[in-house]
Amino acid sequence: MNMSTRISRRTWLSSLPALGGLLLTGCTRERFVPPVVRGGLIGAADVLTMSTNRLLLSGQQLAREYNRSDIADPFPTWNQTNPRSAEYQRHASEGFKNWRLPISGHVARPRELSLDEIRRLPARTQITAHICEQGWSAIGEWTGVPLQRVLEEAGGVTPAARYVVIDTFDGWYEGYDLFEVAHAQTILAYGLNGRDLPRGNGAPLRLRVERQCGYKNVKFLKSIRVVESMAGIGRGTGGINSDFGFHWFAGV
């Protein structure tokens, strides 16, 4: 029983997901594997779930788009509906006229965009289902600009870029890999059901990632950072939800 040479079953089991991740380092690892793979069976399942989803979605298929008659109006609100931060309250009281969205990190020309500048970019309107991980879902008509297009306003991402991090006024942050960012329906929405995005639904701007659960569709956007790694941000798992033990990849 030489403990130094004997690999315990626990060690072996918990290294399985990492092994799976290692096999994918040759191609774009972050497209198939979460930024941090949890240990044990849960981590193995995370890798299987994300890889399967991404293989099946390799054609960047669109999520189902519905008819106007399916729309929920008023659209339900959930969780944070009015961030308490003084900065947010000031912007809200000014009608977001002085709100700016900084785009920083691994982009060619870091810059800030005002709400008007974002509204002048080519828009996309999509009637899609918001699918909460709790089990409810509601259909809304979202109008906004593809995130990819917004990043192009900052000169596009540089070769080192791996994740796009979005910070919000309610203290949340979430990371997204570039495959998710490149999807046509991944938009920064400023309109809901033909009107300005209401405060309860994330004014002035919220993210729509239609192939992931509600908690990845963050509200009250504060800034965008393009990074090489999620290490050092929050607890380093890639988002506030995964910091608290939820799935980083929320496609199920």
Partner: protein
Amino acid sequence: MGADSAAISEARSPAAETSGTTHSYNVRICHWINLVSCAYLLWSGVHIFLDFPELYWGHTGYRGYPAAFRLADWGLSWEQAGALGDRRWGRNYHFTFAWVFLINGLVYVVWNLYSTHFRNQMLPARDEWTVARLLAELRDHLRWRSRRQAPGGHYGALQKTSYLVLIFVFVPLMILTGIAQSPGLTAAMPVLLDVFGGRQSARTLHTIGTVALMLFVVVHVLEVAAAGFFVKVRSMITGK
């Protein structure tokens, strides 16, 4: 003459008993992995449901939308249910053991399609699959005499039929109603939204299926008890 027939039946009966009462390694290992996965899937599923204890029909459903089922109508308020359910734990374990269940199930099905288990022990013979025969077996089951129609330890026709329906119809439907709730997988396979009439319908069917599966397990365990609980459980562990 009498001695001859005794010799024949003696020669036949051990073989008949062996094929009917012993379980292969594959069946035994898969059975117990399946039990553990189903237990985790059920318990984690209950946690997920308690966190949002309403069911709807169609593509949408949210708090305030007309519900098909509300736990609050059955005496457990939204807040009480929410305090009992932990969806973080539930989601983590549900999707972990869904993989264990799926992989284990695929190993079981592929292995036994390749071996003779399905063909020899689970496919009812043509003369077994008559209405009269199935009704007679059902009557026997209800009278707690489950083995009369199935001498030599073989599965009865009703038992074979229920296993086949469970494995090839019911379980696939549970998997499909499960993934029909996934935003990612429904983008890849939008037909899942159409066959079940919407994401919320799929969630409702998934829940109804869970209750049906629990009833199956209750009947299964009662049948095992009727046939001799310890002998049957031992045979599913040791293969003897």
